[in-house]
Amino acid sequence: MGEVGLSAYLMVGAVLFVCGVVCMATKRNGIGVLMGVELVLNGANVNFVAFSRYTSLGLDGQTTALFVIVLAAAEAAVALAIALNFYNNHLTIDVDRGNELQG
Protein backbone atom coordinates (compact mmCIF):
# COMPACT_ATOMS: atom_id res chain seq x y z
CA MET A 1 0.00 0.00 0.00
CA GLY A 2 1.36 3.36 -1.00
CA GLU A 3 1.19 6.55 0.93
CA VAL A 4 -2.26 8.12 1.03
CA GLY A 5 -1.91 11.37 -0.84
CA LEU A 6 -4.00 14.18 -2.16
CA SER A 7 -5.11 12.24 -5.25
CA ALA A 8 -6.81 9.51 -3.22
CA TYR A 9 -8.99 12.02 -1.40
CA LEU A 10 -9.75 13.78 -4.68
CA MET A 11 -10.87 10.44 -6.12
CA VAL A 12 -13.27 9.99 -3.20
CA GLY A 13 -14.59 13.50 -3.78
CA ALA A 14 -15.03 12.78 -7.50
CA VAL A 15 -17.01 9.60 -6.77
CA LEU A 16 -19.26 11.49 -4.34
CA PHE A 17 -19.80 14.25 -6.88
CA VAL A 18 -20.67 11.89 -9.72
CA CYS A 19 -23.04 9.87 -7.51
CA GLY A 20 -24.76 13.08 -6.46
CA VAL A 21 -25.16 14.30 -10.03
CA VAL A 22 -26.55 10.95 -11.20
CA CYS A 23 -28.86 10.89 -8.17
CA MET A 24 -30.15 14.37 -8.98
CA ALA A 25 -30.67 13.48 -12.63
CA THR A 26 -32.36 10.10 -12.33
CA LYS A 27 -34.42 10.17 -9.13
CA ARG A 28 -38.05 11.05 -9.57
CA ASN A 29 -38.65 11.40 -5.85
CA GLY A 30 -38.10 14.98 -4.68
CA ILE A 31 -36.43 13.86 -1.45
CA GLY A 32 -34.04 11.73 -3.51
CA VAL A 33 -33.03 14.81 -5.50
CA LEU A 34 -32.27 16.57 -2.20
CA MET A 35 -30.07 13.65 -1.16
CA GLY A 36 -28.18 14.02 -4.43
CA VAL A 37 -27.53 17.67 -3.62
CA GLU A 38 -26.15 16.65 -0.21
CA LEU A 39 -23.80 14.16 -1.88
CA VAL A 40 -22.49 16.81 -4.30
CA LEU A 41 -21.82 19.27 -1.46
CA ASN A 42 -20.02 16.56 0.50
CA GLY A 43 -17.80 15.78 -2.46
CA ALA A 44 -16.84 19.44 -2.64
CA ASN A 45 -16.17 19.44 1.11
CA VAL A 46 -13.84 16.45 0.87
CA ASN A 47 -11.88 18.32 -1.79
CA PHE A 48 -11.70 21.48 0.34
CA VAL A 49 -10.41 19.67 3.41
CA ALA A 50 -7.96 17.57 1.40
CA PHE A 51 -6.45 20.70 -0.17
CA SER A 52 -6.35 22.31 3.25
CA ARG A 53 -4.34 19.37 4.56
CA TYR A 54 -1.95 18.72 1.69
CA THR A 55 -1.22 22.18 0.33
CA SER A 56 -0.20 25.44 1.94
CA LEU A 57 -3.76 26.75 2.10
CA GLY A 58 -3.99 25.87 5.75
CA LEU A 59 -7.10 26.86 7.60
CA ASP A 60 -8.89 28.49 4.64
CA GLY A 61 -10.13 25.20 3.23
CA GLN A 62 -11.57 24.07 6.55
CA THR A 63 -13.33 27.40 7.06
CA THR A 64 -14.88 27.21 3.59
CA ALA A 65 -15.98 23.64 4.24
CA LEU A 66 -17.66 24.79 7.45
CA PHE A 67 -19.56 27.46 5.52
CA VAL A 68 -20.59 24.83 2.98
CA ILE A 69 -21.96 22.59 5.76
CA VAL A 70 -24.00 25.47 7.20
CA LEU A 71 -25.35 26.47 3.78
CA ALA A 72 -26.24 22.85 3.00
CA ALA A 73 -28.26 22.61 6.21
CA ALA A 74 -30.09 25.84 5.34
CA GLU A 75 -30.72 24.61 1.80
CA ALA A 76 -32.13 21.33 3.08
CA ALA A 77 -34.54 23.16 5.38
CA VAL A 78 -35.89 25.45 2.65
CA ALA A 79 -36.03 22.70 0.03
CA LEU A 80 -37.90 20.45 2.43
CA ALA A 81 -40.45 23.20 3.08
CA ILE A 82 -40.90 23.57 -0.69
CA ALA A 83 -41.27 19.78 -1.04
CA LEU A 84 -43.98 19.77 1.65
CA ASN A 85 -45.81 22.54 -0.18
CA PHE A 86 -45.51 20.59 -3.42
CA TYR A 87 -46.92 17.52 -1.69
CA ASN A 88 -49.81 19.52 -0.27
CA ASN A 89 -50.73 20.75 -3.73
CA HIS A 90 -50.13 17.63 -5.82
CA LEU A 91 -50.54 14.79 -3.28
CA THR A 92 -47.30 13.31 -4.58
CA ILE A 93 -43.59 14.08 -4.42
CA ASP A 94 -42.88 12.94 -7.99
CA VAL A 95 -40.96 15.77 -9.62
CA ASP A 96 -42.19 14.74 -13.08
CA ARG A 97 -45.67 15.91 -12.13
CA GLY A 98 -44.50 19.42 -11.32
CA ASN A 99 -44.96 20.60 -14.91
CA GLU A 100 -47.40 23.43 -14.39
CA LEU A 101 -44.88 26.04 -15.43
CA GLN A 102 -44.25 24.37 -18.79
CA GLY A 103 -44.40 26.80 -21.69
Binding site: V12, M35, G36, A77, T92
Partner: protein, 230 residues
Protein backbone atom coordinates in the same frame (compact mmCIF):
# COMPACT_ATOMS: atom_id res chain seq x y z
CA UNK B 1 0.03 2.02 8.29
CA UNK B 2 -3.09 2.07 10.43
CA UNK B 3 -3.92 5.45 8.92
CA UNK B 4 -3.78 4.02 5.40
CA UNK B 5 -5.93 1.09 6.42
CA UNK B 6 -8.49 3.42 7.99
CA UNK B 7 -8.44 5.61 4.90
CA UNK B 8 -9.17 2.68 2.60
CA UNK B 9 -11.95 1.36 4.85
CA UNK B 10 -13.69 4.72 5.09
CA UNK B 11 -13.12 5.59 1.43
CA UNK B 12 -14.77 2.32 0.40
CA UNK B 13 -17.63 2.98 2.84
CA UNK B 14 -18.08 6.51 1.48
CA UNK B 15 -18.09 5.51 -2.18
CA UNK B 16 -20.19 2.40 -1.56
CA UNK B 17 -22.74 4.37 0.42
CA UNK B 18 -22.98 7.00 -2.31
CA UNK B 19 -23.40 4.36 -5.02
CA UNK B 20 -26.03 2.60 -2.92
CA UNK B 21 -27.91 5.90 -2.54
CA UNK B 22 -28.05 6.11 -6.33
CA UNK B 23 -28.91 2.44 -6.86
CA UNK B 24 -31.65 2.07 -4.24
CA UNK B 25 -35.23 2.93 -5.16
CA UNK B 26 -36.66 2.92 -1.63
CA UNK B 27 -36.37 6.37 -0.09
CA UNK B 28 -35.89 5.18 3.50
CA UNK B 29 -33.02 2.92 2.46
CA UNK B 30 -31.55 5.84 0.53
CA UNK B 31 -31.59 7.81 3.77
CA UNK B 32 -29.80 4.97 5.57
CA UNK B 33 -27.08 4.73 2.94
CA UNK B 34 -26.76 8.52 3.05
CA UNK B 35 -26.06 8.24 6.78
CA UNK B 36 -23.36 5.65 6.07
CA UNK B 37 -21.76 7.80 3.39
CA UNK B 38 -21.85 11.06 5.36
CA UNK B 39 -20.55 9.40 8.54
CA UNK B 40 -17.63 7.96 6.59
CA UNK B 41 -16.94 11.41 5.17
CA UNK B 42 -16.75 12.65 8.77
CA UNK B 43 -14.21 9.91 9.50
CA UNK B 44 -12.21 11.05 6.46
CA UNK B 45 -12.25 14.57 7.91
CA UNK B 46 -10.79 13.20 11.14
CA UNK B 47 -8.10 11.44 9.10
CA UNK B 48 -7.35 14.78 7.41
CA UNK B 49 -6.62 16.37 10.82
CA UNK B 50 -9.81 18.45 10.72
CA UNK B 51 -11.27 17.46 14.05
CA UNK B 52 -13.82 20.25 14.46
CA UNK B 53 -15.02 19.83 10.90
CA UNK B 54 -15.54 16.11 11.40
CA UNK B 55 -17.51 16.75 14.57
CA UNK B 56 -19.58 19.42 12.81
CA UNK B 57 -20.22 17.01 9.95
CA UNK B 58 -21.48 14.38 12.38
CA UNK B 59 -23.61 16.85 14.32
CA UNK B 60 -25.11 18.89 11.49
CA UNK B 61 -25.30 16.43 8.62
CA UNK B 62 -25.84 13.06 10.23
CA UNK B 63 -27.68 14.43 13.23
CA UNK B 64 -29.61 17.24 11.60
CA UNK B 65 -29.94 17.23 7.85
CA UNK B 66 -30.55 13.52 7.39
CA UNK B 67 -33.10 13.51 10.21
CA UNK B 68 -34.81 16.41 8.44
CA UNK B 69 -34.84 14.41 5.20
CA UNK B 70 -36.26 11.38 7.01
CA UNK B 71 -39.03 13.56 8.41
CA UNK B 72 -39.68 14.75 4.87
CA UNK B 73 -39.95 11.13 3.75
CA UNK B 74 -42.39 10.40 6.58
CA UNK B 75 -44.55 13.42 5.74
CA UNK B 76 -44.66 12.75 1.99
CA UNK B 77 -44.58 8.96 1.65
CA UNK B 78 -48.28 8.36 2.08
CA UNK B 79 -50.90 8.22 -0.62
CA UNK B 80 -51.06 6.48 -3.95
CA UNK B 81 -47.46 7.19 -4.99
CA UNK B 82 -45.41 5.54 -2.26
CA UNK B 83 -42.85 3.99 -4.59
CA UNK B 84 -41.71 6.15 -7.46
CA UNK B 85 -39.46 4.13 -9.70
CA UNK B 86 -37.09 5.32 -12.34
CA UNK B 87 -37.55 3.65 -15.69
CA UNK B 88 -34.67 1.26 -16.56
CA UNK B 89 -33.73 3.14 -19.73
CA UNK B 90 -33.27 6.38 -17.79
CA UNK B 91 -31.25 4.52 -15.18
CA UNK B 92 -28.93 3.03 -17.81
CA UNK B 93 -28.45 6.39 -19.53
CA UNK B 94 -27.77 8.07 -16.20
CA UNK B 95 -25.26 5.38 -15.21
CA UNK B 96 -23.47 5.70 -18.55
CA UNK B 97 -23.24 9.48 -18.30
CA UNK B 98 -22.08 9.16 -14.69
CA UNK B 99 -19.36 6.65 -15.59
CA UNK B 100 -18.13 8.91 -18.38
CA UNK B 101 -18.07 11.94 -16.07
CA UNK B 102 -16.20 9.91 -13.45
CA UNK B 103 -13.62 8.83 -16.02
CA UNK B 104 -13.09 12.46 -17.07
CA UNK B 105 -12.62 13.52 -13.45
CA UNK B 106 -10.32 10.61 -12.55
CA UNK B 107 -8.12 11.13 -15.62
CA UNK B 108 -7.84 14.85 -14.91
CA UNK B 109 -6.98 14.17 -11.26
CA UNK B 110 -4.33 11.68 -12.32
CA UNK B 111 -2.81 13.96 -14.95
CA UNK B 112 -2.24 16.98 -12.72
CA UNK B 113 0.88 17.17 -10.59
CA UNK B 114 -0.68 18.61 -7.46
CA UNK B 115 2.60 19.16 -5.64
CA UNK B 116 3.95 21.38 -8.42
CA UNK B 117 0.64 23.23 -8.65
CA UNK B 118 0.54 23.92 -4.93
CA UNK B 119 3.99 25.48 -5.19
CA UNK B 120 2.47 28.14 -7.44
CA UNK B 121 -0.09 29.19 -4.86
CA UNK B 122 0.10 32.76 -3.55
CA UNK B 123 2.87 33.08 -1.02
CA UNK B 124 1.68 31.75 2.27
CA UNK B 125 3.85 31.80 5.38
CA UNK B 126 2.35 28.51 6.32
CA UNK B 127 4.06 26.34 3.74
CA UNK B 128 6.29 24.16 5.89
CA UNK B 129 9.73 24.67 4.40
CA UNK B 130 9.48 28.41 3.82
CA UNK B 131 7.85 28.96 7.18
CA UNK B 132 10.52 26.97 8.95
CA UNK B 133 13.32 28.87 7.20
CA UNK B 134 11.87 32.28 7.92
CA UNK B 135 11.09 31.26 11.47
CA UNK B 136 14.68 30.22 12.08
CA UNK B 137 15.91 33.46 10.51
CA UNK B 138 13.62 35.46 12.72
CA UNK B 139 14.71 33.60 15.83
CA UNK B 140 18.34 34.14 15.00
CA UNK B 141 18.26 37.75 14.03
CA UNK B 142 15.95 39.22 16.63
CA UNK B 143 14.87 38.15 20.05
CA UNK B 144 12.12 40.77 20.06
CA UNK B 145 9.88 38.80 17.78
CA UNK B 146 10.58 35.51 19.46
CA UNK B 147 7.31 35.59 21.40
CA UNK B 148 5.09 35.88 18.35
CA UNK B 149 7.22 33.42 16.38
CA UNK B 150 6.95 30.93 19.20
CA UNK B 151 3.17 31.37 19.24
CA UNK B 152 3.08 30.92 15.47
CA UNK B 153 5.07 27.72 15.57
CA UNK B 154 2.89 26.52 18.40
CA UNK B 155 -0.22 27.17 16.32
CA UNK B 156 1.30 25.40 13.34
CA UNK B 157 2.17 22.42 15.51
CA UNK B 158 -1.39 22.42 16.79
CA UNK B 159 -2.70 22.30 13.28
CA UNK B 160 -0.35 19.49 12.41
CA UNK B 161 -1.85 17.50 15.27
CA UNK B 162 -5.40 18.37 14.30
CA UNK B 163 -6.35 20.76 17.07
CA UNK B 164 -8.15 23.29 14.95
CA UNK B 165 -11.04 24.40 17.14
CA UNK B 166 -9.38 27.49 18.58
CA UNK B 167 -7.97 28.54 15.23
CA UNK B 168 -11.33 28.16 13.50
CA UNK B 169 -13.06 30.17 16.21
CA UNK B 170 -10.47 32.94 16.04
CA UNK B 171 -10.64 33.06 12.26
CA UNK B 172 -14.41 33.52 12.49
CA UNK B 173 -13.71 36.51 14.72
CA UNK B 174 -11.40 37.96 12.08
CA UNK B 175 -8.12 36.86 13.68
CA UNK B 176 -5.65 34.56 12.03
CA UNK B 177 -3.10 33.37 14.59
CA UNK B 178 -1.70 30.83 12.12
CA UNK B 179 -0.53 33.58 9.76
CA UNK B 180 2.24 35.96 10.61
CA UNK B 181 1.49 39.18 8.80
CA UNK B 182 4.96 40.51 9.43
CA UNK B 183 6.33 37.84 7.14
CA UNK B 184 4.56 39.53 4.26
CA UNK B 185 1.18 38.15 3.32
CA UNK B 186 -0.65 39.07 0.13
CA UNK B 187 -0.97 42.76 0.98
CA UNK B 188 -0.75 42.84 4.72
CA UNK B 189 -4.48 42.42 5.30
CA UNK B 190 -5.75 40.04 7.93
CA UNK B 191 -7.42 37.18 6.05
CA UNK B 192 -10.13 36.67 8.63
CA UNK B 193 -13.67 35.50 8.18
CA UNK B 194 -15.65 37.95 10.29
CA UNK B 195 -17.85 39.34 7.50
CA UNK B 196 -18.76 35.94 5.97
CA UNK B 197 -19.55 34.71 9.48
CA UNK B 198 -22.01 37.59 10.02
CA UNK B 199 -23.53 37.09 6.57
CA UNK B 200 -24.05 33.40 7.27
CA UNK B 201 -25.68 34.15 10.62
CA UNK B 202 -28.16 36.57 9.01
CA UNK B 203 -28.68 34.01 6.24
CA UNK B 204 -29.60 31.37 8.81
CA UNK B 205 -32.14 33.73 10.35
CA UNK B 206 -33.68 34.41 6.93
CA UNK B 207 -33.78 30.68 6.20
CA UNK B 208 -35.49 30.02 9.53
CA UNK B 209 -38.22 32.56 8.80
CA UNK B 210 -38.56 31.49 5.17
CA UNK B 211 -38.83 27.78 5.95
CA UNK B 212 -41.42 28.43 8.66
CA UNK B 213 -43.38 30.63 6.25
CA UNK B 214 -43.25 28.09 3.42
CA UNK B 215 -44.10 25.04 5.50
CA UNK B 216 -46.90 26.54 7.56
CA UNK B 217 -50.22 24.74 7.55
CA UNK B 218 -52.71 26.31 5.20
CA UNK B 219 -55.99 25.39 6.79
CA UNK B 220 -57.70 28.77 6.78
CA UNK B 221 -60.38 27.93 4.21
CA UNK B 222 -61.28 24.73 6.03
CA UNK B 223 -61.49 26.47 9.38
CA UNK B 224 -63.71 29.21 7.92
CA UNK B 225 -66.00 26.54 6.50
CA UNK B 226 -66.17 24.92 9.89
CA UNK B 227 -66.99 28.25 11.48
CA UNK B 228 -69.77 28.83 8.98
CA UNK B 229 -71.09 25.32 9.59
CA UNK B 230 -71.11 25.90 13.31
Amino acid sequence: MIEQLLFYVFAILTCGGAIAVVATQNVVRMAFWLVVSLGSVAALFFLLHADFLGAAQLLIYVGGTVVLLVFGVMLTASGPYTTIKTSPAEGIIGAAVGVMLLMVLVSSIGNVDWIAISGRLPSSPESPSAADATRKAHAEESLVNSGSTKALSEFNANQQQGRTVRQLGLSFLGLRPDRNLKEGGANGLAPGYFLPFEIVSVHLLVVLIGAAYLARAKRRAVSEDRVSLD
